[in-house]
C-alpha cells in the first residue's frame, strides 16, 4: 500500500518530481567532481611516495617530515641499514628540473628524483629498463611526460637546473619509462643517486668538503616486522633522525593536508546542502498533504503505512537523482581536458554515492516525523 501510494504520486506528478531529481543530480555531480578533484590533486601530489615499495621513511630530525628540508648524510644511511628488521633501504633525493623542448616551446617542469638502483624508491618500469648504476647520465621518465614529449626509449633529453644562480644544462639518455609517478604536481624524472647529487639545483655545487646527502631514506622492512618497533629502533640506533610511516610522509607533503581538508570540507558542505534541500522539498510537500494524511489515517491507514510511503518516495527520488547525476558526471568527465587533475577513484566514488543516497532519508526524517504526528481527527476538523 505504501509503495503503491508513493509510486502513484510520483508518476502522476512526474514533472515536479523530475525537476527535483535534477536538483539531486546536480548535487551528485558536484559531490562526485569534488571527490574526483580531491583524488586527482592528491595523486598529483603524492603519487610517487604512495607507490614506493617501502613502509617507513627516515627524515632528518626536527624538520616536520619535510622531504625538501631534510638532509640525510651517507654515513647516517649506513647506520640505518644496520638496524635489525630492515630488508633494504634506498636513499631518495628530490629536486626540480625543466626538460628543454626544442623549438622554443615552454620547457616541461619535472620532479628530478635521485634513487639508488635496485633499492626502495625505484619506480615500476613499463617500457625499457630500470636504472642500474649509481652514476650515469641516464634516466627513467614518467610515462606522462614521455607521452607529452613523444619520446622513445633511447632518446636523449636536455634538462635545465640552477646551480649557483646559473642555468645549467645536462643531456640524459632515457633508458626506460615508468608508470605514472607524479610528485608535487609534476611528472618525475628518475636519475641515479650520484648523478642527481651532481646535477640537481643547489647553491654551492662541487664543494670539495661536502658529504653526499639525500633528502629521505626509504626503508623496506622484512616480512612480519613490527613497523612501530622498527621505527623506534631506528630512532634509538641513529641520532638526529625521525621515522615516519607512509601516511605521515604523504600528509607532510607541502599543501597536501590543507588541500585535502579544504576539498573534503567542500564535499561535506555540499552533502549538507543536499540534506537541507531534500529535507526542505519533502517538508513543503508534506505540509501541503497534511489534510490528506489526516483523511488516510481516519479511514484506517497506519502510521507505518504513511511513514513508509514518505520514506519510499524519498528513496526513489533520491536514487533516481543520484543515478542521473552519475550519468551526467560520466558524460562531463569524458569531455574534460586531460590536463585537469580529476581521478574517479572507485572507493571514493562508491563512498560519495552511498553518502548521497543516505542524505535523502536523512533530509526526510523531519517529514516522516510530521507525517506520523498528523492526527486522524484532523479529517473532521477536530484536534485532540
Amino acid at each position: 500500500m505504501a509503495l503503491f501510494l508513493s509510486v502513484k504520486e510520483i508518476w502522476r506528478n512526474r514533472n515536479r518530481f523530475f525537476l527535483f531529481s535534477l536538483v539531486i543530480a546536480l548535487i551528485t555531480t558536484l559531490v562526485l567532481f569534488i571527490a574526483a578533484l580531491a583524488e586527482g590533486l592528491a595523486t598529483a601530489n603524492k603519487e610517487y611516495i604512495s607507490k614506493i615499495d617501502a613502509e617507513l621513511f627516515v627524515f632528518q630530525k626536527n624538520v616536520s617530515f619535510s622531504a625538501s628540508a631534510s638532509q640525510i648524510q651517507r654515513s647516517i644511511v649506513n647506520n640505518i641499514r644496520r638496524t635489525p628488521g630492515i630488508e633494504s633501504i634506498g636513499s631518495v633525493g628530490f629536486g626540480g628540473a625543466d626538460i628543454v623542448i626544442p623549438g622554443g616551446q615552454k620547457p616541461l617542469p619535472v620532479s628530478l628524483i635521485g634513487i639508488e638502483a635496485g633499492m626502495p624508491g625505484n619506480p615500476a618500469i613499463i617500457t625499457g629498463k630500470p636504472l642500474t648504476t649509481t652514476y650515469a647520465m641516464e634516466g627513467v621518465l614518467d610515462r606522462r611526460a614521455a607521452e607529452k614529449l613523444k619520446l622513445k626509449v633511447g632518446d636523449r633529453i636536455t634538462i635545465k637546473t640552477i646551480q649557483a644562480a646559473k642555468d645549467k644544462f645536462y643531456t640524459l639518455r632515457v633508458v626506460g619509462f615508468s608508470d605514472s609517478n607524479q610528485y608535487l604536481f609534476r611528472p618525475s624524472l628518475f636519475i641515479p643517486y650520484r648523478t642527481w647529487d651532481e646535477i640537481r639545483s643547489q647553491p654551492d655545487p662541487g664543494r670539495p668538503d661536502r658529504e653526499l646527502v639525500s633528502n629521505i631514506v626509504a626503508v623496506k622492512a622484512t616480512l612480519g616486522t613490527d613497523l612501530k618497533q622498527l621505527a623506534s629502533q631506528i630512532q634509538v640506533n641513529v641520532t638526529d633522525v625521525e621515522v615516519a610511516d607512509k601516511k605521515t610522509t604523504i600528509e607532510a607533503i607541502p599543501g597536501y593536508s590543507a588541500q585535502q581538508s579544504t576539498l573534503n570540507t567542500q564535499q561535506i558542505f555540499t552533502l549538507l546542502i543536499g540534506v537541507l534541500v531534500i529535507g526542505g522539498f519533502f517538508q513543503i510537500q508534506m505540509l501541503q498533504k497534511v489534510p490528506l494524511i489526516g483523511v488516510l489515517k481516519a479511514i484506517g491507514a497506519t502510521n507505518s503505512t504513511v511513514a513508509l510511503a514518505v520514506v519510499s518516495q524519498i528513496v526513489i527520488i533520491t536514487t533516481f537523482g543520484v543515478m542521473l547525476g552519475s550519468l551526467v558526471t560520466i558524460g562531463l568527465a569524458l569531455g574534460i581536458p586531460s590536463g585537469v587533475p580529476i581521478i574517479f577513484n572507485g572507493e571514493k566514488v562508491i563512498t560519495s554515492l552511498l553518502a548521497l543516497l543516505a542524505i535523502g532519508p536523512l533530509g526526510g526524517l523531519v517529514t516522516v516525523r510530521l507525517a506520523v504526528s498528523v492526527e486522524p481527527l484532523m479529517a473532521l476538523g477536530l484536534s485532540s
Binding site: F4, R12, P291, L292, A379, L380
Partner: protein, 239 residues
C-alpha cells in the same frame, strides 16, 4: 433487530488550559442495520465530536460506544486503526479523495488497506462505480470531477469494503442544492439496500427527507429524537 451502533450515556470533555468544556453530554441513541440517521444541530452542538467517537477516532470521557456489540473503549490505538479500516466507511466534507489516484484506485483504496483487493473486491468496486454513475470516469483523476461526482466517489469508497457502519461528515457542505439532494439520496439508497447503519452529520435540514431518524443536538445534549416520517417532515418544514 440488534442495533449496530449503540451510544450509552456518552460524554466527552475537552480540556482547554484550565477550562473544561463538555462537548458531548450524556448522549444515548442507537442505529439499526439499514437505518439512516441524521445528526443535526447548530455549530458547536457536538455532532462532529459525537461522530468522531462513533468512528473510534476519539474516546468518550464517560459512557460507552458499541459497534456490532463491541465496546470501543477498551481498544488500543492500533486496534482502533484496524477497527476503523474494517468496520467503518467514511465520507468527509473535503479532502476526501487522494488527488494522485484515479477514481477506480480511490474506490479500491479501502480494499487495498484491508488487503482485500481480490477479484471479488474489484468486482464490488466496479459495481459501486457503475451504480453511482461513474463508469465513464474510472480513469479520471479527482481534479477532473465535479464536487458531486467527487462525493459519489467518496460514497463508493466508504461502502466498498462492506463495513458495518457508514459515517458522513457534512458531505453536502460544498455542493449546490441539486447535487446535495442527489448525493444524500444515493447515500440513503445504498445504506438501505446494503443494510448498513448510516449516520450523516449535516447543517442542511432539507437533507433529512432521506433519513429514518433525526437526532437533534444542542450544547452537547440531545434536544430531540425524531423517529417517524411525519415528525421528520414537520421538522424539515419548520426549518
Amino acid at each position: 433487530m440488534e442495533p449496530v451502533i449503540q451510544a450509552n450515556s456518552v460524554s466527552t470533555v475537552y480540556q482547554s488550559g484550565s477550562l473544561s468544556v463538555k462537548a458531548v453530554d450524556q448522549i444515548s441513541f442507537d442505529v439499526k442495520p439499514g437505518e439512516f440517521v441524521a445528526l443535526v444541530g447548530p455549530s458547536g452542538s457536538g455532532k462532529t465530536t459525537m461522530l468522531a467517537m462513533l468512528a473510534a477516532l476519539l474516546s468518550p470521557t464517560e459512557g460507552d460506544v458499541l459497534i456490532d456489540g463491541v465496546d470501543l473503549s477498551g481498544f488500543k490505538d492500533n486496534e482502533r486503526v484496524k477497527f476503523r479500516r474494517e468496520k467503518i466507511g467514511f465520507t468527509f466534507q473535503a479532502n476526501n479523495l487522494v488527488p494522485y489516484l484515479n477514481i477506480q484506485e480511490n474506490v479500491e483504496m479501502m480494499l487495498r488497506l484491508n488487503n482485500k483487493l481480490d477479484n471479488a473486491g474489484k468486482e464490488r468496486a466496479n459495481e459501486l462505480i457503475t451504480r453511482l454513475g461513474l463508469e465513464n470516469r474510472k480513469r479520471n483523476l479527482p481534479n477532473q470531477l465535479s464536487g458531486g461526482e467527487k462525493q459519489r466517489v467518496a460514497i463508493a469508497r466508504s461502502l466498498v469494503h462492506n463495513p458495518s457502519v457508514v459515517l458522513a461528515d457534512e458531505p453536502t457542505a460544498n455542493l449546490d442544492s441539486e447535487r446535495a439532494y442527489q448525493v444524500v439520496k444515493i447515500f440513503s439508497d445504498l445504506i438501505h439496500e446494503q443494510d448498513k447503519a448510516g449516520i450523516i452529520v449535516t447543517h442542511d435540514l432539507r437533507m433529512c427527507i432521506y433519513v429514518d431518524k433525526v437526532v437533534q443536538m444542542r450544547d452537547g445534549k440531545i434536544e430531540n429524537i425524531l423517529a417517524n416520517r411525519k415528525e421528520i417532515d414537520n421538522f424539515i418544514a419548520c426549518g
